[in-house]
């Protein structure tokens, strides 16, 4: 029983990571109709930013988190202005190859600068374990379980309550009508990417203390996030969020009860099944994000 609980904790950790990355991807898909094949690499960049921000443990954890998220948001905005802006009105094929090219550039630039050896950025909380009933759990995981839901709620409030958030939802529902009433798609695109990259940065700052950073760690994550976005109904944020947790728990259970080496096959298998049997996603189709 405690083994199941342990795997559940692992799964929820993994799910939180997938969710933070997947909702950023779903936001871009929903608002801009663009699939960013370099999205997972933003998580990797965030990891290095967090590593730098920690200054080997000099900076308090909270400050490093805020610095990472803010830094990634700025980078995301600049990235949209410099590159994504140029592919937004192109066809899906051009967008696909362009974002893959960006992924090659980012990954190899980081291999060139940092090498392939993983960098550790531990926090005191990652090394402290708490006894919770039958299981031992790293305090860092509790931080993740608190911060991730708070981030989801803040994000949801932003989309529901603020003018910019409403504009994003409106664009995702009807682009032409938004142009008519004077929503500036140029500005929305920049903000969308800032938020998307900021969420990826938050994921890095939460998860990296438990593991390490390495230039290649984003590539498979891009695919996992895509799987969650497809399962959740293409471009729907709440669907992607739920699907990400389902994927995370399913993978942890597969790793615990079958074989850790084939756990990665789970997300692929589930995604294929969803694409073939329920292409509208697990939770049904609706309009907009």
């Amino acid at each position: 029983m405690d083994f199941v609980l342990e795997q559940l904790v692992n799964g929820l950790t993994l799910g939180s990571l997938y969710a933070l990355v997947a909702i950023g991807l779903a936001l871009v898909v929903g608002v801009l109709r663009l699939i960013n094949f370099a999205h997972g690499d933003l998580f990797m960049v965030g990891g290095y930013l967090f590593f730098l921000a920690r200054l080997g443990g000099e900076t308090p954890y909270g400050v490093a988190v805020v610095a990472t998220v803010a830094g990634m948001a700025l980078l995301g905005y600049a990235f949209e202005r410099a590159v994504i802006e140029r592919v937004l009105d192109k066809t899906w094929r051009v967008q696909l190859v362009a974002t893959l090219a960006i992924s090659i550039i980012i990954v190899n630039a980081f291999i060139y600068m940092w090498g392939l050896n993983p960098k550790m950025a531990p926090t005191p909380l990652a090394g402290r374990f708490l006894e919770l009933g039958m299981i031992r759990i790293a305090a860092q995981r509790l931080v993740i379980f608190v911060v991730a839901p708070v981030a989801f709620m803040a994000f949801s409030m932003f989309l529901q309550r603020t003018r910019t958030g409403r504009a994003m939802r409106a664009i995702s529902q009807n682009r032409e009508a938004c142009l008519v009433v004077g929503v500036d798609p140029h500005r929305i695109a920049g903000v969308t990417f800032a938020i998307s990259a900021g969420l990826a940065g938050l994921a890095s700052a939460l998860i990296v203390p438990l593991y390490s950073v390495q230039p290649l760690m984003g590539t498979l994550l891009t695919f996992k996030a895509l799987a969650a976005v497809i399962m959740g109904g293409f471009g729907q944020i709440k669907g992607a969020l739920l699907a990400a947790y389902v994927l995370g728990v399913a993978e942890a259970m597969a790793a615990g009860f079958l074989s850790s080496s084939y756990a990665d096959l789970v997300s692929f298998g589930v995604m294929v099944l969803v694409l073939l049997l329920r292409p509208q996603g697990l939770f049904g189709r609706k309009v907009g994000i």
């Binding site: 109709r33 192109k90 066809t91 899906w92 051009v94 190859v97 090219a101 960006i102 695919f223 692929f268």
Partner: protein
């Protein structure tokens, strides 16, 4: 008429140079003839054949598959397992590998051609990741990350010159299949499917059949190249099947000119030769290629072939398929 004769002259001249290349390098650069033949000759031809097999789908059927190296890897692993386990001859490995890759491509195609454009790309990206994971973990057959080593050179063509002529023959076969599928009736049907599937259907060209034709043929050719590569470099590792080669293929095809044979061949040769000449570190080369790919796809989607055609034939406007597409493809509404 004169254009046809000129073209025949060209083909003859290129074929003569390629056939005489081992003799040329031996006479011209006796000290480094092996290096030149291996890194420039064989290296280029492997990528020429591999990239042409890829361009059948990407450049002609219009389907962007990201799983192409999986079929190359099936070929390489089949050759590795057969030749180290049972000492099967090269031709036997070719037959088994091509059949296996064709069957695998049929399954992948049957699953994913039901999906539209970008979902097909995502599905095949998953296939590439999964093929890599299986190769790493199926250790009883693939030896996992330890790689299969000491694969013998092909019998009857074991020395470098022999292997050069072998890959030259494979590249020639690939080029012939490429021409057969992209010209004439089949070529026009592929172009129709690429432009507008619904319209192609109403004119009697079943999109599923033609996309599958390009996909499966490309997979079988890739497996053929994979068999050669395994016997040539004597080692096969799991990253053969992953996405690393996919990115290289995209770079070659775009640098050269999507959907144009001369362009793809030039792209493959440039891709092989430039890093050899510049003595780039592998990582730096990949970084530069990434930038080149981005610039090409955004600003010069015709690649080198587009530049050539404008210079040689005073041609204006887009040349390659993707160049035309970015200029405004009526088949795909922009959102």
């Amino acid at each position: 008429m004169s254009a046809t004769i000129l073209r025949l002259w060209w083909i003859g001249a290129v074929a003569a140079v390629l056939l005489a290349l081992p003799a040329i390098v031996r006479v011209g650069a006796p000290g480094m003839s092996n290096y030149l033949l291996n890194n420039y000759g064989i290296g280029s031809l492997v990528w020429v054949a591999f990239a042409l097999s890829y361009d059948l789908s990407v450049g002609h059927a219009g389907t962007v598959t990201l799983a192409h190296p999986a079929f190359f890897g099936i070929g390489a692993y089949t050759a590795a397992v057969l030749s180290t386990g049972t000492h099967a001859p090269f031709l036997a490995a070719v037959v088994v590998a091509v059949v296996l890759a064709g069957a695998a491509a049929l399954v992948v195609g049957a699953l994913f051609f039901r999906l539209s454009d970008v979902f097909f790309a995502i599905g095949t990206l998953g296939v590439a990741f999964m093929a890599n994971i299986v190769a790493v973990n199926w250790q009883s057959v693939t030896k996992g990350a330890l790689c299969i080593t000491q694969i013998p050179h092909p019998q009857g063509a074991a020395d470098l010159t022999g292997r050069y002529y072998l890959i030259l023959a494979i590249a020639a076969v690939t080029a012939l299949v490429y021409v057969a599928l992209t010209r004439g009736r089949v070529g026009r049907a592929l172009a129709a499917v690429r432009g507008d599937e619904g319209l192609a259907q109403t004119f009697g060209a079943n999109p599923f059949v033609y996309k599958m034709l390009a996909f499966v043929t490309g997979a079988m050719l890739a497996a053929l190249v994979g068999v050669f590569q395994a016997h040539h470099i004597s080692v096969v590792c799991p990253d053969t099947l992953g996405t690393f080669y996919t990115l290289n293929l995209l770079i070659i095809v775009f640098l050269g000119g999507v959907g144009t044979m001369r362009g793809v061949v030039l792209g493959a040769v440039l891709f092989t030769i430039i890093p050899e000449l510049a003595r780039f570190a592998q990582v730096l080369a990949q970084l530069v290629y990434g930038v080149v790919l981005l610039v090409v796809v955004l600003y010069a989607p015709d690649g080198v072939e587009g530049v050539l055609q404008r210079a040689l034939h005073r041609r204006r406007g887009p040349v390659s398929i993707w160049g035309r597409e970015t200029a405004g493809d009526p088949a795909e509404p922009k959102t």
